[in-house]
Structure formats: C-alpha cells, structure tokens
Symmetry: C2
Subunit: 491 residues, 2 copies
C-alpha cells in the first residue's frame, strides 16, 4: 500500500508490526524484550484503563498498590504456583553500584549483596496474600475486593510488541471471600465484566469458557477465560479470571473468624487483563491501510483537518474549525483539530488513516462558502460532502453506527471461523487450511491434550460456557467425551 | 486521644505514623523499605493523579511508558547524573530461577547471568533520552511533551512511609525543545502547575524557588522547587522542575535539524512529584484526632451514617439516606453512604473522623420525623442540626468553605513560620526553638552552605522566586550576599 504497509495476505506478522510502527503505538527499547509505549498507543491504553476501572469500581472493587519486589522464598509457598512462575524472572541480587577502582565506569558493589534475592513480580498473588493475612481476621473484613494497576515482568525469550513482552502493564484483581460460592460468583462476575468490555468497548466478540487443567493458572482451581479470534485465524486469550479455592489462603495461612467465632480459611479469586489487549485490538479490526479503532476506544473519535493554500481566508477557516470542535466536544465527542502548519493536509490524511481515527472531517474554502464539509469514515473508507448544519447530531449517530458495524463484522467473521469436526484428520486439515476455532470431542485427559498440541500446535482454548453438553467420542483416542471443546492455534 | 493517637505535641513522628496506620493509608511490606498503599490511601493518590493529569494534558502533554529497567552503562553517560543516581539502586543480575538440585526450594540459576546488569529505574532521564534520539530529527518533532506515571526504586537505608521509601510511585515529565528559552518557560510553567495544584487542591501553601547548586538535580542546569511547611516546623520539598539545558541531549546525542537544515542539540526539562505528596498532605492539615482532608482531594467529601437500633423504621430511614446520597451525587459531591450492619454508628463516627472525611451527615428516626439531619465538620469539629430542605445547596457551599478555611489556616501558620535573621546565632536559635523557614543572607558559596548544613542540619531550601533581591552580608562568612535565601530543617 501507499504507506508501505505489507498487506495482511502478503505477510500478516509483518503487517502487525508495521501498523504498530506506522501508527506510533509502541517500539522495542534498548532493553531486551521491554517495549516503549508511545503517546498514541498509551492514549488507547488509558481509554482501556478508564473503561475497565469504572467497571471494577461499579462492582465494588478498590484499587491499591503492592510492592514491585517479591522475596524469593514467597514464590515457593504455593506448590503449583512456583512451578508456573518461578522460572523466567528478573532477579535482584544487589542494591548498590560503585565506581570501578580500575576506572571502568560503575560496577556492582560486591559488598551490597542482598541476603535473600528479590524477584520482580511476575504476578502478585504471593505478596498480596502475605499481606491479606494481616488484613483479614473476621467475617467483618470480608469480602476484600481489591485491584492493582501495575507493571509485571516475565523473562520471555521470544517477544512480540504488546502480545508478549518481558515487562508489560496490566491490572490484577485479588479478592477474598468467606464462602466458596461467593468466590466462584466473583470469578464469573469478573469474566462477564471482561466480556462485556471486550464486546461493547473494543467491538471484539469473545467466547467465554473454562480452561483445561493443563492451561490453568498455576495455583488456581479453575481458570475462566475470554478467547477472541484474530483475522489470521489464530485465537488470542484476552483475559482470565481464576477461582483460587483456598490454595493461597492455606499457603499464607489466611483465616477468618466466622459469626460463631470459628476459624476458616478464606476463598480467593484473581483476574487480569494486560497490554496484550492492545495486540488483540490491532488484529481484530485493522486493515491493509492501517489501524482501525472502534469509536468507544478511540482517543480521538473525530479529527478535523482544515484545507488551505496560502493564508488567504485562513483565519475564517480556522475559526470555523474551532467552532465545530467546540460544538462536538460539548456533545461529548473526543475531537482533535489538527491545524499544525508544519504538515500538509495530505500528510495528515495519511497519518490519521494509519492511526485509525473513526471519522475525518475536512473543511476547505469552498466548504466554507457552501456551508458543507467532507466526512470520511475510516472503517468503510467512504467519503461524502454533508451540510455543516446538523453535523453535531450526525457525528454521534455515525460513531454508534461504526461501533456496531465493526462489532458485527468481527462477529460474522468469528462465527465463520468456528468449524465442527468429528475426526482427527479433519481437525488437522481445518487447522492447516482455514484456521480458526475447531469444535471437537475430547476425552478429558491431559495426555490426549498434550499429544494433540505436540502434533498440531493447537491447544484447547476453552470449554465454552455456552457450549453444547452433548456427549460423543474423542477424535484422538476414541474414548468417550463429555462435550465438545474448542481447539485453535493461538497467540 | 480516644483512638490511641499520640498528640502532635507528645510525639510528632509517632503521630504521623499512627495516622497512616489508623486511617488505613499504607503500611510497611515484608520487603524492606517497600510500602503497601492501602485502598483508602490509594484512593487519595488517585485523586492527586487525576487532578495533576488533567493539568498536564491541558498544558499539551501526553502520557507514555518507558522500560522499568535501565542498562547499567546508560547511567554513566551523563557525568553528574551518575554521581547522583548510580549508587543506591536495585540491580538485576539474573533472569532465571531453578529448582535447587539439593532440594532447597528455588535458587538463582547461575547459568542465567545477564551480560550487562540492569538497574531498576531510580528516574528515567537516561532511558528516555536514549529513546528521544530516535524520535527527534527535525524541528517538526519539537516540542516533545511527555509525561510518565510509574514506579521507581531508590535503595534508601532509612525509610518512612510516603516520605522516603525504596519503591515509590510518581510522575516524571520529560520534554524536549528547539529553544533554550522555550525549555526554561516549560520548566517554570510546570512549577506553576505544581504550585497551583498544591494550593487549590491540597490547600497547602508553597514557596516557589530555585535550588542552590548543592541541592540541584544531578544533570540539571537549574532545579526549581515548591517548598511546603509542616506543622512541626520542618520544610518539605513537594515537587521539582528541572531545566536540563543540553546536558542529556549531549550525553545521548539528540540533535534536530532547524528550518535551515542546521543540526542543533535540543533543550530539555524534567519535572516530578511523588507519593511523598501523601506525606505532605497528612502533615499539612491533620490534627490529634486523625487525618483532615481538603474537600477537593477527599475521595469521599461527605459520609452519610444512618442511626438506628433494631429494625423498626429502618427501611424508611435507609430510603431517605439513599435519596439524599443520590441528590448529592447529582450535585457533583463525592458521597459514601455507610449502611453496613456489621458496624455500629459509634464505630463509624470514629472511623470517618480518623479518615478525615470533611463532612459527616447522621440521620436518625427523630431526624426523619423532624425533617432534620446532623451535620458535622471534620476541620472545626462543630456539629449542628439542620433542615433536610436545602441540604443539597448547603453541602457544596460548606465544602468550599472548608477548603478555603484549611488553606487560610495553613497559610497563616506558614507565614508565621518565616523568620528573618541577621546573624548566625539567631539562625541557630530560631532553628532550635521555633523552627520553620529562616530567611538569611548567604554568600552564594557551596562551602558556606555545606558548613551551615553540617553545623545546624539546616539546608538552603530555595532562593524564593518572589523574594527580595536586596543585598546584604552573609550571616556565616561576613562576605557580601546578593539576596536572602530560605534555610530550614527538612524532611
């Protein structure tokens, strides 16, 4: 394409990275695996944060902040947790540098070695449950409903911007409850919050489901997830919500006195989404011309570009643009007016197309004379000349239309990418040709799941909550199957 | 006092820590020097963030995110910066743990040693300027106006909650400009943003000034600051804004082509405030009964407590409370209605007094019959019975009154704590008896400043921007002095 993006058909992986680059969303830093989130990318992340944060607070949660560092010994306290998280971590061993006595700049001071190494948090269950032990004594202290917005580090060897980075930003909810059922209800509630957010704000349809034991969070009794379908037919886990049972309560000895004074372990949940959602967003809607943003998430829903040569009539034109911007802002629309003289209108058109701004309004001298403006939709790439009168009413309607249209398009695509198969050969063929989710019977064993993964690179994405419970025969082992599950290759 | 707080007169340091504990603001974690910010403390921090963030955006800045880790060699690139920051840092040396072959849990994997150690950022100038090098080519790329909300780590040996912790939360602005004067203007603009925020939102008067060379940020040409006065007569630096000159541009080779195509180094600024502001807030207004919050910063400006025994008439009472809450929320007031049956009204009164909620409304059955309610002000500790009619108009007026009253009280106190002296003996006497800021002549040398600091523990807080420029004689050396400066003992 004109802006040097490869098409999705040519090279999907390259197309993805080039959108991130050309739309100025993020870039790799000098520190291996750590990204810089650029202002435009961060503005989208702030929109994600604010929409989610409101939902967390509406469901009774408060934010708090826990330490970046976790004592190494904490990771070992929950048996399965250490297996899942203790391996690829950034380890702090020293707390001081000093000038090299040999003049070689600064070196690590060998005298400043920590007694116990600190791990940069890969997730915060351990440090949070060690704190909850002091916060929870009685049923009066429950439920404890807390969320944290934070950076976490997992030392990934192969990284890809937003999808897998050594440091990433996320939120992690950590709740404690008196009753098992209450904790399960919380787990499901937060899954529903994520799904509603993904569908109504990101315009991204998701399948709600439960993970198999193999794919479960290390330390959870059950992991619920939302799974989305990308345009290349690969699945992407967009959020998880874990029912922790009493595992962390037992590991950190967190008990409460119930109304009769009896001591019981509390029940826990944790749930999180991360800057990975940015990757999902890019791949859910964008096209060969760049990013396409759903209006509910776009930092700027409308960009206004004045069109002029020379300075004649410029003041009047700019006045009109400012007036229009003010009217739209008053109507609750997020608007950027770009009257920067250092760039041409053509450059700006290309720029906001790449950046996925849902609506572009251009106003030139002739529009001014005629009382019109040019309105361009990013999603359909249609342009029309419309009267200025009524534009303040029209824009919000159009934004709603675009939001709905993006969702419906993604939903139609996603639904077309769910294929039911009844044999292992069919599964392999669909994975290799069409891709997408493949609905198939599975015998429920980790062994079969692992074999299929090794042979096809597809994993069981989930047991869909809304899926059919009709029994059948496992496509791999021929053993009885309680229900169909969804396989896919995934990010 | 009733709730077990020591009075300020008895033990100011203990009073400070007890307020943090009893108002549930924060606590020490198991990781040395790192704090847990509890939900109520974090809610106040979120108010600080949202008020500042709006001001940053109104002045043209965008948020972005840069890596947590800094390659060790980066710290050495700006000569004076390394002296100031390279010493007490958390150093990441390894990226993997493994199971101890001898069965001793997890150990650091000696095979996973980093080639170059990574420093957990103590501040981000180096990593950001190394990135700016790629972002800035031409005058079209300038000014670059970026802010980051982040956690940073400085390995402090003596820590105190909020005032000095190993990990803390902050914002750091980093801007790049084509012109020297433009960068200076930015530095001063952000100082003014901080001062306006401190005074109108935190109700905390501040003195704007310039630091001496000794107290300057490592790598800056000039450090501007806002200095506040705490109730015990000690000063507290509440925010800094640095004019970096071309120091970091030269260290990281950041040049731009001006309109004629000539390459020039860019000019930089950086500016930050941190969770230290929470410490300032606590000490600025609180009293022997607990926290006192200015309404503009209070997460809840009003708490409504229904008063009842047994369940008779309870539904009607609660309905009235919910109705009142809805009406106040509609009027833009932040309201908490506490109808939790697990706690008594007496417990709640004590709790919200400790938490510094500006206004408390109590409604009992008699109020319901009489159409009245009890209104209590936290700052003056006055109570009165007022009619329910008109309460929605009265509350915002009262909140404004409380905000103004807290500011004026703090201003009167602060002004009373500035003492002009003309001899070194007077300086020492004022420091040892009254405390506060001491305005005195100083010869402008680092030597004199250092001597005075060693002998009195007082530092030069700043050269006030609005201070008199009348010359005089240095109180220490007898040498000529260009102007008076402010000395104080400080947090």
């Amino acid at each position: 394409m004109a802006k040097g993006l490869p098409t999705r058909a040519e090279n999907y992986a390259e197309w993805y990275l080039e959108i991130i680059k050309k739309a100025s969303l993020a870039e790799n830093s000098a520190v291996r695996g750590c990204m810089v989130i650029k202002p435009y990318g961060y503005a989208i992340w702030e929109r994600i944060q604010s929409e989610l944060d409101r939902r967390f607070k509406d469901t009774g949660h408060s934010n708090a902040y826990f330490p970046l560092f976790i004592p190494k010994s904490y990771l070992s306290k929950e048996a399965s947790h250490v297996e899942g998280f203790a391996k690829e971590c950034a380890v702090v061993t020293h707390y001081r540098l000093k000038n090299d006595p040999n003049g070689g700049g600064v070196i690590v001071d060998p005298d400043a070695k920590l007694e116990e190494e600190l791990i940069v948090r890969p997730t915060s269950e351990t440090v949070i449950w060690s704190t909850y032990k002091n916060w929870i004594q009685s049923y009066r202290d429950l439920p404890l409903l807390i969320n944290q917005w934070a950076n976490v580090v997992r030392w990934e060897m192969r990284t890809r911007l937003f999808l897998r980075t050594a440091e990433f930003l996320w939120q992690e909810g950590h709740t404690a409850h008196a009753l098992r059922q209450e904790a399960i209800d919380e787990t499901v509630q937060m899954l529903n919050v994520y799904a509603e957010f993904a569908e109504t704000v990101m315009a991204m349809p998701v399948i709600k489901g439960v993970k198999t034991a193999n794919e479960r969070f290390a330390g959870a009794e059950d992991t619920y997830c939302i799974e989305a379908m990308m345009q290349d037919g690969k699945a992407l886990q967009a959020g998880t919500s874990h029912f922790l049972g009493q595992n962390f309560a037992k590991a950190f000895d967190v008990k409460f006195a119930d109304k009769t004074g009896q001591l019981e372990y509390v029940w826990g949940t944790s749930w999180g989404v991360s800057t990975r959602l940015m990757g999902a967003l890019i791949m859910a809607h964008s096209d060969d011309d760049g990013l396409v943003l759903p209006p509910n998430l776009a930092p700027w829903q409308v960009v206004i570009v004045p069109i002029y040569r020379g300075s004649e009539g410029l003041d009047q034109l700019k006045d009109k643009c400012y007036e229009l911007k003010a009217a739209l802002v008053k109507a609750g629309v997020r608007v950027k007016l770009d009257d920067d003289d250092k760039q041409t209108p053509g450059w700006k058109f290309a720029e906001y197309e790449l950046k996925g701004v849902p609506l572009r309004i251009a106003i030139g001298p002739r529009d001014l004379a005629n009382g019109t403006l040019e309105l361009a939709r990013r999603d359909t790439k249609t342009k029309e000349s419309v009267p200025m009168d009524g534009i303040v009413e029209l824009v919000p309607q159009l934004l709603t239309q675009i939001q709905d249209s993006l969702y419906n398009k993604a939903l139609t695509f996603r639904d077309s990418m769910i294929t039911e198969v009844n044999t292992y050969d069919e599964l392999k063929e669909v994975l290799d040709t069409k891709g997408g989710f493949v609905s198939a019977h599975w015998d429920g064993t980790s062994e079969t799941e692992t074999k299929i993964k090794e042979e096809t690179k597809a994993t069981i994405r989930c047991l869909p909550i809304d899926g059919s419970l009709e029994p059948g025969t496992c496509i791999y082992s021929g053993q009885p199957s309680a229900r169909r599950v969804l396989f896919a290759r995934a990010y």
